[in-house]
Subunit: 352 residues, 2 copies
Amino acid sequence: MSKAVPAEKRASAKPTINDIARLAGVSKKTVSRVINQSPLLNEDTREKVKAVIRDTGYVPNPQARALALGRNFLIGIIHDNPNAQMILNMQQGILEALRDTEFEMVVRPVDRGSATMMDDIRSFIMRQRLYGVVIMPPISENDEIARLCRELGCRYVRMGSARLDDDAHMVASNDRDVVAEATRYLIAQGHRRIGLVAGPHGFRSARERREGFESALAEAGIRLPRNLIADGQYTFESGITATESLLDQSPPPTAIFASNDEMAAAVLYTARERGIAVPEELSIVGFDDTPIASRVWPPLTTVRWPIVAMGRSAALKLIRGLDSGDDEGGEPSTFLSTLVRRGSVAPPTRTD
Amino acid sequence: MSKAVPAEKRASAKPTINDIARLAGVSKKTVSRVINQSPLLNEDTREKVKAVIRDTGYVPNPQARALALGRNFLIGIIHDNPNAQMILNMQQGILEALRDTEFEMVVRPVDRGSATMMDDIRSFIMRQRLYGVVIMPPISENDEIARLCRELGCRYVRMGSARLDDDAHMVASNDRDVVAEATRYLIAQGHRRIGLVAGPHGFRSARERREGFESALAEAGIRLPRNLIADGQYTFESGITATESLLDQSPPPTAIFASNDEMAAAVLYTARERGIAVPEELSIVGFDDTPIASRVWPPLTTVRWPIVAMGRSAALKLIRGLDSGDDEGGEPSTFLSTLVRRGSVAPPTRTD
DNA sequence: TTGTATGCGTTATCAA
DNA sequence: TTGATAACGCATACAA
């Protein structure tokens, strides 16, 4: 090919694989092998090329790689989560794992109410040729999405409150266990009439937390009257309504476990509104350890799950999937949440 | 689930521009012209090709376009923001603008303390060949980053509390005005000793809010003693310290304006800790209208800025930059924040 | 162990 | 107004 047409390349132009090959006196393919860490390469050649790459500051063009490989170096994060802090913590964990790799993170909020949600996700994955996706709760509980990912050949990891999938596709917390622990803590403080603000029907996390709550009561031989369970939707507003129905009982509960912090904050808010002293007349336990839990007065006893670590692990599962088929000896799949004890729990001052 | 969807979407058989050209009986360049809305095209040809595109469900491959064009269809969002809700609202606004376009959003948190921050941003923009970036406060106040974007030929829009750049590169709120309004509201309630929890030095938003506060006091002829100004860092913890120093004054203020909600929550927290009744003994005003403002008791009077609309506008400024050189008659650059009155303000019960 | 030729899906050049 | 052909930067088969 003649060099009549192309103009003299500017010194500032980004070097390409051709420049490296020319400067190192090898073919492009050899440079490509160095980049992709091919095992069959003479060490001297490898070092020579590496030196040129260092000197020139060469970085492979991700778009060209994406085109040639038929897939992009993008990790998607799919969520329909109202909890901003959780999403950001997850993003932080994922980005920690992606730091110093060629991957970038793209975010896609979805609307579970939308009729086109599955198609949206499909075109998101297809168009961007995503390398993999991390699916956040509660949308992660939707098995359809996991099936779609498999169908499209897109790696995925789901985050959730229980094991919904095999180890390679899951980072889970032990919601049931830790809620049982939290409930035992309330019982140990002397509480017997304990109310539950449950999460929405159909949410696995809601079920896990409820079952943990119920199992701890059963284990202590405490009967749970039906009217001490109020349904919530994980929102502050629904928490208000649920709390009102609990506090209207006679006698009212001396403690309430709310299935997330939003609703726990609503319990506290409602108690204040009614002039009920917390924790003296009413103890409260939440779940998530979002910032709000530590910013209200009194600060809320709650459950903290290691979301950043889960995000990091989820991303590593995705990008490590390259070399190791299974995940044994790799990233953990279950993460232990812990009870954080703050000022919203005290022994009951009233006994019935 | 999505069986009604046209079968062309199968992963195995994605049509390419060649397929469209063959089916339409034209060259690929002509198809390319249709895709890119080239003006010099026979209408009949255009319609014919469009019909084939519709029928096949053809979608151009973004990776190939990125390679050929030398730039990607990605909008970056750069932030170093501790306020999760603000980031998510911004993301929502940007995504609303990007919906039904070929653009995707990629998120990049940065660490202003890091020595490599500028290099991180540079390589982020260069490697991904970003189409444009939205820069969130407070990092948006850094003029170096704007200069870097210009140098790299990357479009950018900054979000901030004041106009730091020209219209095409800025979405700003009127912090100074609205804080003056909030302060006048406190004065109208009868407050004279009003404390300020200021934001960090060097933050433009902190300066704007402080100046709005001071101007309203000056305008009412109220002298602001030096010891009624406490420095904060926009964090809850710093708000605690600042509030303590204010409440230790004698006499203490009857109202406090905190430069963001995190610190306003800290004011409330500290007041509760000391048994000071809010709003009877102490009125509180915050800024941001984050979820926490409406979830504490009493709910906080605060300033709400239209972040979703600002995000939408920022993204539109970026992707509209194509056809219209200037931004006249286009997206607005200034957005009006509003005072949200809740229960944390009341007339003072004590007069000095 | 290394190189050559070709493909990935699109856009740009320039001639028809 | 349209089309043949060459980029774009990298990876893979297949040779050497």
